[in-house]
């Protein structure tokens, strides 16, 4: 199943290191602002709406 990884800004270094350790250097993923854990439900929805074009782009959906 096609999937897209999402992480917050401070985890970019870890995400890149994880991608290298799996043999996929330069693996593309979506980055969003930090933090997420303390957001309300509505704020999470907003965040998803903002990320959606980038998520679809990585999935190869042509607009």
């Amino acid at each position: 199943m096609p999937a897209v990884s999402i992480c917050t800004e401070p985890f970019r270094l870890a995400a890149d290191a994880m991608a290298r350790s799996y043999g996929f250097p330069g693996f593309d993923y979506v980055v969003t602002e930090h933090p997420v854990a303390s957001l309300s439900r509505d704020e999470v929805r907003e965040r998803v709406a903002t990320m959606l074009p980038r998520i679809l782009e990585l999935l190869g959906v042509e607009g």
Partner: protein
């Protein structure tokens, strides 16, 4: 040697240390350069195969072998004879389970508290008395460091990359203590869990922090225990439903408690009862409810909040510990003052802590397979009667490999299936410290 020769040796040593820095093989402190010959000197202290995997992290596809553990122990500054203790730490971490699931990559930033019991403390010079959490002792400093260096060099868990700890803990450099059994009024930690006084053990406990309790104000055992319980039950330590703790008592506190009739079980029971928070205290910090999806604590008005059924509706109070068994009690430090510590452990929340036996020096690591002649006697006799030639091998961590040689048997198919042999061996080993790792059938040998 001349002064010039000495200078050349020091220059070469500094170059080697700097080379290790350039390779990022350090925790920030200088490491001891290792040669193949020095690595062999370490490996001579165990009979375990150099390629044996001690701990795997499937999420990053890496594993630490005996050879890699020995190499990092050498680089950490261990003496070769420390290796059996270092290997026991890895076995204990593996048994505890958190490390293999990625806790060393977490923002939480934990480190293991490594507890050493038994005669190996004196043999290796593991400090259990003054400054027990502090500096100054090679064994304590380097055994803990051997684990951290392997985390960095074998698993690649470097800060700012795969180690995502937000702050970490000073214990990441090392946190290895001996129990001060000699000045304790109670049976040692490992004796509580079924080992003999002549056995040596290592117990690794993943923990967040060590909080000091300096308490010289009272000679009342109950007041003292309530003072400890106040730190055990601090809200900052309570992230999920309940917590666990390890009390590291100074000999002075231990004797004060023992003098008023408290043994380790009574301490556990008292601290369990005393470590409570009220609903009001939980409300004040937004931790009254539990998340329906993660079991983390939340404010009660959070959309995922479900009530915590452990808050007693009659009293509105809540036990932060699951049971008295979630309290471990260890005695360590100097007999000079009332200074103890509360260690915020991840677990066990009432389960048995992961004690691992350290092979006796001279036994070269491997446990004595002859020990199992008794438990395995029935199975061996049956196989031999049918013409098979069973042999076995055990590792220091207690893994049994059982080989059924064909011997004079002319019908290897006459044997019961492998799964049945495994079941019989498992039954035979019940009550021993050994477990079945592998059965090799005549057709496979």
């Amino acid at each position: 040697m001349t002064v010039e020769d000495d200078r050349a040796v020091v220059d070469a040593l500094v170059d080697a240390v700097e080379f290790c820095y350039d390779q990022e093989w350090t925790d920030g402190l200088p490491v001891v350069p290792c040669t193949p010959e020095r690595l062999d000197a370490f490996l001579a202290h165990t009979d375990r195969a150099p390629d044996e995997v001690l701990l795997a992290m499937p999420q990053i596809g890496r594993e630490c072998t005996v050879r890699m553990a020995a190499l990092n122990a050498a680089m950490a500054g261990c003496r070769p004879e420390y290796l059996p203790v270092v290997l026991a730490v890895w076995d204990s971490l593996n048994a505890e389970g958190y490390t293999g699931k990625g806790i060393w990559q977490s923002t939480t930033g934990t480190a293991p508290l490594i507890l050493v019991n038994g005669p190996v403390r004196a043999e290796l010079g593991v400090n259990s008395r003054g400054n027990v959490f502090g500096s100054g002792f090679r064994a304590n400093a380097t055994i803990g460091r051997a684990i951290r260096l392997a985390a960095i060099n074998v698993f690649g868990l470097r800060p700012h990359a795969l180690d995502q700890a937000t702050q970490g803990t000073p214990a990441k450099y090392t946190c290895c203590i001996g129990e001060n059994q000699e000045e304790s009024p109670w049976p040692a930690f490992h004796e509580e869990f079924g080992f003999g006084p002549d056995d040596s053990t290592v117990t690794a406990m993943t923990m967040r922090s060590v909080s000091q309790i300096e308490a010289r104000h009272t000679s009342d055992a109950r007041q003292l225990l309530r003072d400890f319980a106040g730190t055990v039950a601090r809200t900052g330590a309570l992230l999920q439903r309940t917590i666990s703790t390890c009390l590291v008592l100074s000999p002075e506190h231990a004797h004060l408690l023992a003098g008023q009739g408290f043994d380790k079980p009574a301490i556990r029971e008292f601290v369990f009862e005393a470590a409570q928070l009220s609903r009001e205290e939980l409300d004040a910090v937004g931790k009254t409810a539990i998340s329906s999806t993660t079991s983390w604590r939340l404010p009660s008005d959070h959309p995922e909040a479900v009530p915590d059924e452990r808050v007693d509706p009659a009293t509105d109070f809540f036990h932060v510990l699951t049971s008295p068994d979630a309290v471990q009690v260890v005695v360590a430090g100097a007999s000079n003052s009332g200074v103890s510590a509360v260690v915020d452990t991840f677990g066990p929340r009432g389960d048995r802590p992961p004690l691992v036996a350290v092979p006796r020096p001279g036994a070269a690591g491997r446990a004595d397979p002859q020990d199992l002649r008794g438990p395995l006697g029935g199975i061996v006799a049956t196989l031999e009667r049918d013409g098979f030639a069973p042999t076995w091998d055990v590792t220091a961590s207690g893994d049994l490999t059982f080989r059924i040689g064909a011997g004079s048997a002319d019908c290897s198919e006459c044997l019961v299936p492998k799964s049945m042999i495994e079941a019989m061996l498992t039954d035979a080993l019940a009550g021993t410290s050994y477990r079945v790792a592998e059965v090799v059938m005549p057709t496979e040998g």
